[in-house]
Amino acid sequence: MQIFTCPSCGARDEREFHFSGELGKVRPNTTGEVNEEEWATYLHTQGNELGAVREVWMHMTCAELFVMERDSVTMEVLSTTPLRKDVS
């Protein structure tokens, strides 16, 4: 069982967290033309890298989204930072 550190609440059991997605995915502007390939890539293509990855997670008990940098091989958590840049 892993321990993740919510930037707001501190270290908690992994069962309190929900994986939201890989960081950096941008939703295509659907008010304009979006071709099939572009949309399929957005929906289904994941980097799924070995080693250091950057992901968005939600701490469900406080509902805050944050960025977690972790090693997908050793499961080591490298950093957790708020998703919002300007959070105090």
Binding site: I3, A63, L65
Partner: protein
């Protein structure tokens, strides 16, 4: 009797027990195996496949043979290893896989057929015509022990979470010294050992550092405790998991569930020792053949001398000390070098001796050692690598995670003095006294030579697997079941992979090991779940009005995680539900709708936000209005349906499905924070703050008018899909006109603390008008009569809104919304999509089965959809059904075949709305 207890003057508590119906006497501290050996009993079980007689090979967790079913009082547990189950007064032990006893097993005749029972036998033989024909017979013949039908009510594992700075696993000499060193350095130390008696292999020594083993151990434990260290006995570290979590299982008295400790350790010292490995020779599975290490343990820990005339077959120097101690204890020891000629055991249930080439050494006992194997399971669980050491012919811990170190025999240091010196001074170069000559299975050699004792895998099976190209050790394992018994290959894996290496003429490290997975020893499932079962695993959400419902005789059932009234009153459920439906259609039904979601979305960007997360256009709504709509996934699939109310320019309430509230809230939060400015939108789940009483039916308006005399609730003043905010008895109340029944309906919501008052008031106003309480089952029928869907029941993971008849936003909505692009793919436009329809039944056989398939009626039918909801409609007095069917909207009036479990009926596709199709009742 070959094996026997050496008498001691110490008076010990005597323990009475039986094995296969015979009475024996053991003593305090015995395992079942040591007690039986002390009584001269060696045959303790039968092997899995050939039913060969088997006795213990090991003295502890490495033993693959002596598995028993043990009863004590009213508790019976199967799968008890005799070598690790401590004896208790009154135990009744039975051999498993043997009938009537291990000594005389009727199925032993199977051994004669061994030529036809080779590796892959089941795979090859029972293919035609169908494995399932043979399965019951094979299942009866196979297996070890039978599970008792009695449920052990009190067999519940305690579970705790713990942490320490240093966790030392194994209290042999190296572990004790490591724990003492860390504790005396001021670290918070926990030391665990799977025995009740600490010390590991130390009792095999005459002295250690000039002291007898028990004095030396007592000194170490006293020092550890004095320095603040904790010691846990009878506790096995069964696995290392992510983030330095070590699973510990602590055994108590027999029949009590073991305790689970989730230990989070800053640093872990692995002092798990080493296991003696068997020598592969002909008939090496006979009872009376033990490991050299086991003989030393039985003598040192239990005063049991395994034989009177012992053939000691070893390729390494550790046997020297054991030879001396056995001789001192009174045995005659014949030393045999296994590297100088082919070996074969003589004798069956009673061992007669051992052949080496043409020479017979008579003996009643054979002790074998093919060298020590470090216990590296935990190292591999933690992701550590293994290095091959050619001198010792072992895999030793290589590069591992920073938090983990290995000491002592687990690190390949089999010389105790050298091992503890290295723990004290890690930098000093140590000279070890351990030497061995490589000795591995010889492919092509004669006789039946066992690799895996419990699963009856022989060297020939490994050779057969290699011939059939199962050359990877992972394939070898699965094809032959090598290493898959309860011991998980502790004795067999090294022999198996060495045999495969020899067959392929490749070095052992090139062949590699199979994956080591937790648990290290069998751990009962109950230990993992502990108290977390039933309600404790998944607590239901409870209504504020639960007591009121109980007082009214509600049948409370779980719906979407909530405990809710299914119906009210005694008698047949279907009669009660029918009566509630008819009452609601005739007068009115009163329904507890509190679990309906009430998620508020507020802020200057709230309008754009809800317009984005909804399929429907929300931006055009005016305050006071309510709209029905869908939330989609980005894949365009319907995720939730419900109504949204606009409270003000910047404030909305999303009333999602009762079972989806948590999911919808997470969904909204995700889009709020990732892709929007979270300072301009707020999402607040207020579901738990509100109670909602729904009144529905022709008399609903009269009831609400009586409840709120100052409000004009006429159909003209208070229109469908609008709401008003007012006060009831000084408390703010929100009254919404939305309908899930097709009848005029009012949802009355106010703060939880006033729920009982409102419920009571509505009830007493309603009853004189012929109205009454209504449970969820009636509501489900009422909505089905109108063709209203329940997401997840009438929809599936492919349903898009246009499949449900809601196609307008898809073609008209200009703004971006979740899932929009997915609604215009080739798949979304195909003509054969499942669409929502109704089904009219043509016969007198009652409602269609929910889940039944709709087909074209061919002899080899192909499914064209399925029944999603089906009821006997009390209102219409006929069966009704909703279904998803291919291209359904264009097939109105068509007759389809309904197939269910081989039976077929006919039904006609119709509109999903069966009742009041013009909607006149909505404003009645």
């Amino acid at each position: 009797m070959s094996s026997h207890r050496i008498s001691r003057s110490v008076s010990e508590r005597v323990l009475n027990f039986t094995f296969d119906g015979r009475r024996y006497v053991g003593r305090e501290g015995d395992t079942i195996a040591s007690a039986l050996l002390a009584n001269g009993v060696r045959v303790m079980g039968r092997s899995f496949k050939y039913h060969r007689p088997r006795g213990p090979w090991g003295a502890w967790v490495d033993d693959p043979n002596a598995v028993m079913s043990v009863r004590l009082g009213t508790v019976e547990l199967p799968n008890c290893p005799a070598t690790t189950t401590y004896l208790e007064e009154g135990m009744v032990a039975r051999s498993v896989n043997a009938w009537p006893s291990a000594q005389f097993d009727i199925k032993a005749g199977l051994d004669v057929f061994h030529r036809w029972l080779s590796a892959g036998f089941y795979y090859k033989t029972f293919m035609w015509p169908d494995w399932h024909l043979f399965e019951p017979m094979i299942r009866r013949m196979a297996g070890l022990g039978a599970v008792s039908d009695d449920v052990l009510e009190n067999y519940v594992s305690e579970q705790t979470h713990d942490r320490c700075a240093v966790l030392v696993i194994g209290a042999g000499p190296a572990g004790l010294v490591a724990a003492r060193k860390a504790a005396e350095a001021g670290e918070d130390v926990a030391l665990v050992d799977d025995h009740r008696l600490l010390g590991g292999g130390v009792y095999q020594q005459k002295t250690l550092e000039g002291k007898t083993p028990d004095v030396w151990v007592a000194e170490q434990t006293a020092a550890i405790t004095a320095a603040g260290g904790r010691i846990l006995t009878a506790t096995t570290a069964f696995g290392i998991f992510d983030h330095q979590l070590v699973g510990l299982v602590q055994q108590g008295a027999f029949g009590t569930a073991p305790k689970l400790i989730r230990m989070r350790a800053g640093r872990v010292v692995m002092a798990t020792g080493a296991l003696d490995r068997p020598i592969t020779f002909a008939n090496n599975d006979r009872p009376g053949i033990f490991s050299v290490d086991a003989a030393a343990e039985y003598l040192a820990r239990y005063d049991v001398l395994l034989g009177r005339r012992i053939a000691l077959v070893s390729n390494n120097t550790l046997a020297d000390g054991t030879e001396a101690r056995l001789t001192t204890a009174g045995a005659t020891v014949i030393r045999i070098d296994p590297t100088t000629g082919a070996l074969k055991a003589r004798g069956s249930k009673r061992l007669k001796g051992i052949w080496q080439d043409d020479r017979l050494h008579s003996a009643d006992t054979i002790l074998a050692s093919g060298g020590m194997t470090p216990t590296v399971h935990l190292w591999r669980h933690a992701g550590g690598k293994l290095d091959w050491c050619d001198n010792r012919q072992v895999f030793v811990p290589g590069k591992g995670p920073d938090f983990l170190t290995a000491v002592g025999a687990a690190n390949g240091e089999f010389d105790i003095d050298a091992a503890i010196a290295k723990v004290r001074e890690p930098e000093t170069a140590i000279k070890t006294s351990y030497h061995m000559t490589p000795l591995w299975p010889q492919p092509g050699s004669k006789g039946r030579q066992w690799i895996d004792f419990q699963h009856d895998v022989t060297l020939k099976d490994v050779e057969l697997a290699a011939r059939e190209n199962y050359v990877s050790v992972e394939h070898l394992k699965r094809y032959t079941t090598l290493g898959m018994a309860h011991d998980q290959g502790k004795t067999s894996n090294m022999a198996g992979l060495a045999a495969m290496a020899a067959i392929q003429d490749r070095p052992i490290p090139e062949i590699g090991t199979t994956t080591f997975r937790p648990p290290f020893v069998p751990v009962p499932i109950e230990t993992y779940h502990g108290h977390h079962r039933g309600q404790n695993l998944h607590p239901v959400k409870r209504l504020r009005l639960e007591n009121a419902h109980r007082a009214a005789g509600a049948a409370l059932c779980e719906y979407g995680g909530w405990l809710r009234p299914g119906w009210y009153g005694a008698g047949e459920a279907k009669d009660r539900i029918r009566a509630e439906v008819l009452q609601a259609r005739k007068a009115a039904g009163i329904f507890d709708g509190s679990p309906l979601g009430k998620i508020e979305v507020m802020g200057p960007d709230a309008e754009d936000f809800v317009n984005f997360v909804y399929y429907n256009t929300i931006a055009t709504m005016k305050p006071g209005q309510i709209r029905y709509g869908f939330m989609l996934t980005e894949g365009g699939v319907v995720y939730d349906d419900g109504v949204i109310a606009r409270l003000g320019p910047n404030r909305f309430v999303i009333s999602c499905s009762s079972s989806h509230v948590d999911g919808v809230r997470n969904h909204l939060e995700t889009w709020r924070q990732d892709g929007n400015d979270p300072d301009r939108i707020y999402v607040q789940d207020t579901t738990a703050h509100w109670a909602t009483v729904t009144v529905t039916g022709p008399k609903a308006r009269d009831i609400v008018a009586a409840l709120l005399p100052n409000e004009d609730v006429s159909a003209k003043a208070f229109q469908h899909m609008t709401f008003i905010e007012t006060e009831w008895q000084g408390t703010p109340i929100r009254v919404a006109r939305v309908s899930f029944t097709g009848d005029s309906s009012f949802e009355l919501s106010l703060r939880q603390s006033k729920a009982e008052d409102l419920w009571g008031a509505v009830k007493s106003l309603a009853e004189p008008m012929g109205a009454g309480l209504m449970g969820l089952e009636a509501m489900l029928i009422l909505r089905a009569e109108k063709g209203f869907i329940v997401v997840g029941k009438d929809t599936d993971g492919e349903t898009m809104p246009h499949d449900l008849g809601f196609g307008v936003p898809r073609s008209k909505k200009k703004a971006a919304f979740l899932g929009d692009r997915s609604l215009h793919t080739e798949k979304a436009n195909t003509k054969v999509r499942n669409q929502l329809v109704g089904l009219q039944v043509e016969d007198d056989s009652g409602p269609l089965p929910t889940g039944a398939h709709l087909t074209n009626g061919d002899t080899r039918p192909k499914s064209q959809g399925y029944v999603t909801s089906s009821y006997l409609s009390p209102t219409l007095d006929q069966p009704i059904a909703l279904a998803m069917v291919q291209n359904g909207a264009a097939r109105m009036g068509e007759t389809v075949t309904v197939w269910h479990l081989g039976e077929t009926r006919n039904a006609t596709i119709c509109s999903p709305c069966f009742f009041d199709t013009d909607g006149d009742r909505l404003n009645a």
